[in-house]
Subunit: 351 residues, 2 copies
């Protein structure tokens, strides 16, 4: 270890994002990006803002974007926080609420959570998923300082019933509960409707998936104003302007084009149904998905083999080796129906 | 305090950036933005990237931007780090190197430093500037765990001779020294040439001032590879993709258009000389500036009066009340020569 490194630095095991290949594969289905570009109105909004004053700092509070989100979700502006992707938003939340506490989250989930814990020296306990890979919140009724889970969960894609979340919040009112809804718009029920009732609930969302803006880095959090105030204090003690002028303008336009959003998410959900059926016909076990991806394993062929074979055919999917329980699964991002047809055809050749 | 806040949250006193007025003033000279827009080649680069794949994540490592900066400054790519504005870059540096240590910095300097210290629970000691507002590095030869100062200093604008920095580094080889060069391109000598010699030196720079990209949020750090590795580990444990696709493309184009950079920085330096002379003719004391702003006080009129009078004339400058020693100073961002003529004319009316 370099003599200048803080002791925690050598212990950090940074998050590894899915590969962004330099030579574009035929089909990139590994990082849950949207197969459709952002709304044409988003492109127009960016163009309108290019010549307008990139020399000037952006609005540090992103007031217009917060207003837009508040109106869209029928919340107060004080209940909205925005940041540089939901990863930054989650980092601020971990720092604001969980330092010195014991956090609970599923053993199989978004692998950035333990990374934040290392960075901010937060203790955590992994709660095993059920045999069928569902999150069982009854297992979280033990001494803890906070709970976080994605809904739908990643990489399983399994959505949780809103009643389960509501029941858990009724029993657990003394610690922060974060519901990470990065993939919620693909058929999972949002917990946003519970924010007014529970002062310990934080919901995070992302513009990278359903809004097709992974390239521009926008994420958000919703909670009662006192929790948002805490997240804002961390943000304003870290970086006054995490959201640039073009990202703010693009995100506003993305929220405003509801038709485009509905049309494209529906197409993705339809393509998912198509792929699920195809996979089942080929003897794949497909976990139920409320996300823009499916998590699947084959009755005979090992996931690693399928991953490598797909790769050799120019199709990139995600394969996680990290846990025995999921080492035989691959995660496939849902693309267009035509892309899913191509994938199904190649899979039929492989197996 | 809300029952869910971590104890440090209530103690945070976030940084207050200069006002971004909603109704545009006649002249905005309060946040050191560049009066010239970014290079036309930057605008072209953004346009070329709008339709290209905003749906896809950006390169998490910003490899092309790092390569461009490495070539430009004749450093290895492993000596370059980039982030979401130099504020984020500085935050990562504080977290990577200064936690649990005692940091030294000037009593009058960039007011974000003590904010980072609160956020990351870093102890610090303020070292008073000399009577003439210069930083005297000989005063920093005491027990410490790190040193940071801007060159030129802010808000004074006073540049430090590179020999002073080199001498200090020779005497101080066992703690990290950060030279924050946000304003270096306006006539101050950069410490980049010392990086090869000193394995404890970090230099940070910004695209917000001389590159005219405040609206797009790009900053960078330079140091020997092991220090860059530590900063990268923190970044990759916090947010994989802080720089979006358009910001990366714009920053590359900004570095590549050397002619535009030279032409616009020269115009700003010339306008600064013009304003300095005008101010001195009006009985202002003007501190020597190596930045795109001047720090000045008047022989008779109080800074607060001048600040308010300018404001009523539609001219916004920055006034800091935080310290007795500078409460009679205003900081004026350098604009175009025509803007400086307008300012001088109004000042003549006021005093």
């Amino acid at each position: 270890m370099n003599r200048f490194w803080h002791e925690t630095i050598s212990e950090l095991t940074p998050y590894t994002p899915g590969e962004q290949p330099i030579n574009r594969p035929q089909l990139k289905l590994n990082t849950n990006e949207n197969p459709f570009g952002p709304s044409p109105k988003v492109i127009d909004a960016i163009k309108e803002n290019i010549n307008a004053e990139l020399r000037l700092y952006p609005d540090p509070e992103s007031e217009d974007l917060k207003k837009t989100l508040a109106q869209y979700y029928h919340l107060s502006k004080q209940s909205v926080f925005v940041g540089n992707g939901s990863d930054e938003v989650l980092a601020f939340i971990f720092q604001a609420f969980f330092q010195g506490k014991k956090l609970l989250f599923p053993d199989i989930t978004y692998s950035f959570y333990p990374v934040y814990c290392k960075l901010f020296s937060i203790d955590y306990k992994l709660i095993p998923l059920e045999e069928n890979f569902e999150i069982n919140l009854e297992k979280y009724n033990l001494e803890h300082g906070g709970v976080i889970f994605p809904n739908p969960n990643a990489p399983t894609g399994i959505p949780m019933n809103l009643n389960c979340i509501s029941d858990f919040l009724h029993k657990n009112q003394n610690t922060i509960v974060v519901v990470d809804e990065a993939y919620v718009d693909f058929g999972t029920d949002s917990a946003l409707c519970l924010i007014e009732e529970f002062d310990n609930l934080i919901v995070t969302q992302s513009f990278s998936k359903s809004r097709s803006l992974a390239g521009l880095r926008v994420g958000c959090a919703f909670a009662q104003p006192e929790l948002i105030e805490a997240i804002s204090r961390v943000k304003n003690s870290f970086n006054s302007y995490p959201l640039d002028r073009l990202a703010q303008a693009a995100a506003i336009a993305a929220i405003q084009d509801e038709n485009y959003f509905k049309k494209t998410t529906k197409k993705i959900i339809d393509a998912r149904s198509f792929l699920e059926q195809e996979l089942r016909n080929m003897n794949f076990n497909v976990l139920p998905s409320g996300a823009n991806f499916v998590f699947t394993c084959h009755a005979t062929w090992h996931a690693k083999h399928i991953f490598e074979q797909l790769r050799s055919h120019g199709i990139l999917v995600r394969y996680f080796i990290k846990s025995n329980r999921i080492e035989n699964f691959i995660r496939i991002t849902i693309g267009t129906k035509i892309q899913m047809q191509t994938l199904a055809k190649v899979l039929k050749q492989i197996i």
